[in-house]
Symmetry: C2
């Protein structure tokens, strides 16, 4: 095994708490209550359906920043929240300032000692650059949906990353907190590592609480994955 | 200005000395004198012509690792040097283990404090990942020819990087030790920074000793560029 690629939203960064905190700060700044928890959850609820519109060809290729903006506008209209265009843009960029899970930075540094580490994400590259800089994620390489103009779980994303790395899928591991992602990767010959993020969607999460298949590795978090794949000298 | 992209071979890493040192080490290991200085220079001499065969359509898209291998084989045959396939492969990977110029790592760290920093290179991504890890280059992002299936100075490379960054060329600077590269970038609206590397090709270098146009910045090296673009607090 030579490289480990990581899903980012949910697996490496805690998008929900990060959005909620930014909505809270904005509410305080504007002196106007924005329902951050509800907006964060519903905004993410648009995520898969919006990508599916691209995956099925209903929409031409559209980067995630732009899908996010369309979803956000719909959501604000639905709730009768009137924000001007500059503010919509600023809120849309909340996704560029996501915080890592507490184990992520240490775990990635340890894994990087021995493996090439990179993203394999539906986020667009400009977004991922900002997230990496904000969260201090020490990636060797960013594989983002816009490099391939496909969204996971389309095989073009997984195989495109392997092609660019010059590695067969059997020498690449995908680490994700989502079983669907690992399923797609395994079907193409990747190795797989699951880490649970049972509060990614908040306290009432019911999906992806556990590994649903016998993934090659099931670790508690990224520090645990690091300890198991990069033993201390 | 938001991002600075860097040519890599010659600008950030000292490919010639790095190849010569690796040929010397291999000669010692094999107990057989390989003419490292001559091979390094002649190998690099194949670089532009081999990419031109791709750029003109004579060859289909071919990554630099593969162009390097073809050139190396021709060169070894020309000099009657018989190396087995595994050794050819090992020598070809000398390009994956290039040393940075002494100012490069410090300069990049400083520039990264304020700007997104990335490569804009004709090297392929797998090669660039290895060079970055070997040389300790703290890139935010790697833009490599195989992302675009074009070689510099084709505009697709420069504009493709801007598109993925979500930035207009006017907010991106190219830093290079080669006037031709800056010329292509400026024609597309990039900002430009020249740093001289007067021994890139060895003591008898005659090309790119000086800035040939009024580039936006002309710095002594990457530390100097860092001091000028990221003043101390």
């Amino acid at each position: 095994m030579r490289a480990i690629l990581f899903d980012v939203f949910g697996t490496v960064v805690d998008w929900r708490s990060s959005l909620v905190a930014q909505f809270r700060a904005l509410s305080a700044e504007l002196g106007r209550e924005l329902p951050g928890e509800m907006l964060a959850g519903q905004w993410r609820g648009h995520y898969a359906p919006s990508m599916d519109r691209v995956r099925t060809g209903e929409l031409p290729w559209t980067i995630l920043d732009d899908l996010h903006r369309t979803s956000l506008r719909a959501l604000l209209a639905q709730h009768g929240l009137d924000l001007d265009a500059a503010l919509v843009e600023r809120v849309n960029r909340f996704w560029h300032r996501l915080e890592p899970w507490p184990d992520a930075v240490n775990g990635l540094h340890r894994l990087k000692e021995r493996f090439v580490i990179g993203t394999l994400t539906n986020g667009n590259l400009a977004l991922m650059v900002d997230v990496a800089r904000h969260a201090g994620l020490p990636w060797d390489v960013l594989f983002c949906a816009d490099l391939f103009q496909h969204y996971k779980p389309d095989p073009q994303v997984y195989l495109g990353a392997c092609r660019l790395l010059g590695l067969p899928p059997s020498e690449v591991m995908l680490c994700a907190a989502h079983n669907y992602d690992l399923r797609a990767a395994r079907a193409l010959g990747f190795r797989t590592a699951f880490i649970p993020r049972p509060t990614e969607y908040g306290p009432a999460q019911r999906k992806d609480l556990d590994a649903e298949e016998d993934w090659d590795l099931i670790a508690g978090d990224l520090e645990d994955l690091g300890r198991r794949l990069v033993p201390a000298l």
